[in-house]
Point group: C2
C-alpha cells in the first residue's frame, strides 16, 4: 500500500473511531492528519487534504487546541499560522483522560453526591434501589477518579511496568 492510501485509511478510520467516543468526526480526522504530519500544517493545508471548508477547519482546530492536543506554532518568515500535534501517544492519552475526567467524571460525581441524599424511607423498595445504584456508581467513580489522577502523573514506562507486574 502506498503512503497516500494508507494515510487516507488511517484518517478515515480515526474519524469513525472518534464518533464512537463522542468526538466529532472531522475533529478526529484533523487530529489524525496532524498526527502523521512531520511538519506543522496551515489551515489551508488541512482544508485541501481533507476537502473541508475554512470555517470547519478553524472551529475544529480551536477545539483540538482547547483539548490540549494541538499547538499553534510560529514559523519564521511565514505570515500564516501553523499547527502541530503532540506526537507522543502516551502524552496524548494522558491529556484526553485529564480533560474527560474534568469535564465529565467530576461533574457526574458531584451530581451523585447530591442525589444520594434523596428524601424518603430508606426501607421503601424504590428509594432503596435508587440509593443503592447511586452509591454503587459513586464508589466506582471515585475509585476511577483516583486511579486516573495517578495515571496522569505517571511516566509511561513506569505505568506499564507496574501494570505488567500486577497483571503478570
Amino acid at each position: 500500500m502506498k503512503l497516500l492510501e494508507a494515510k487516507q485509511q488511517f484518517i478515515s478510520n480515526w474519524g469513525a473511531f472518534g464518533t464512537h467516543w463522542g468526538i466529532n468526526r472531522t475533529m478526529a480526522q484533523i487530529h489524525a492528519l496532524l498526527l502523521v504530519s512531520p511538519d506543522p500544517l496551515t489551515q489551508d493545508d488541512i482544508m485541501e487534504e481533507l476537502d473541508i471548508s475554512r470555517g470547519n477547519v478553524n472551529m475544529n482546530i480551536r477545539e483540538l487546541i482547547n483539548w490540549g492536543l494541538v499547538d499553534r506554532v510560529v514559523v519564521t518568515g511565514e505570515r500564516k499560522e501553523f499547527f502541530l500535534a503532540e506526537k507522543d501517544i502516551w502524552k496524548v492519552v494522558k491529556q484526553i483522560v485529564k480533560e474527560r475526567k474534568k469535564r465529565e467524571l467530576e461533574p457526574m460525581l458531584q451530581l451523585l453526591d447530591k442525589l444520594e441524599n434523596v428524601e424518603g424511607d430508606k426501607k421503601e423498595k424504590n428509594v432503596r434501589a435508587f440509593v443503592d445504584a447511586v452509591i454503587g456508581i459513586k464508589k466506582l467513580g471515585r475509585q476511577a477518579d483516583k486511579t486516573l489522577d495517578t495515571m496522569i502523573k505517571a511516566e509511561e514506562s513506569w505505568f506499564i511496568g507496574a501494570l505488567m507486574k500486577i497483571f503478570k
Copy 2:
C-alpha cells in the same frame, strides 16, 4: 429532594453523559431507568416513564440486550415481557469494556497492523512520521488490550486492592 425528582435528574444526566461517550441518549436513559428500578419493567412502563414511543423503546432495549446490560425476564402469570438491568456496577463496567474492546479496539489494531507495512523509503520524512505514529498507537493499543483482558477477568475487590497498592 423527592425520589421522583432525583430519579428524573439521574436519568437525564445519565443520558447526557452517554452522548459524550457515543451512546444514544435514549438508550442511556432507558439504562438509567432500569438501573434504579428494583423490579423488571415492561415496554409500556418505559414508554410511560420516559414519554417515548413504542418503537423507540423496542429498538433501544434490543440494543441494551445486545450490549449484555439488560435481560429479558419472564414473570409468571404475565403475558408481557419484562426487562431487568444488571445492577452490579462493576459487572456493568466490565461488560461495556468487553464489548467496546471487541467492537473498536481490536479492529483498530488490525488496521494498524496493515498500515504499518506501508511501501516506501522509511528514511523519507513523511513515511517515517506515518510509520512512527502507527507504531506508537499500536504499541499502546496492544498494551491496553492486554490490560483490559485481565481486568475483564478480575474480581472487583481484587482489582481495586491491587490498584491501590501500586498507586499507593
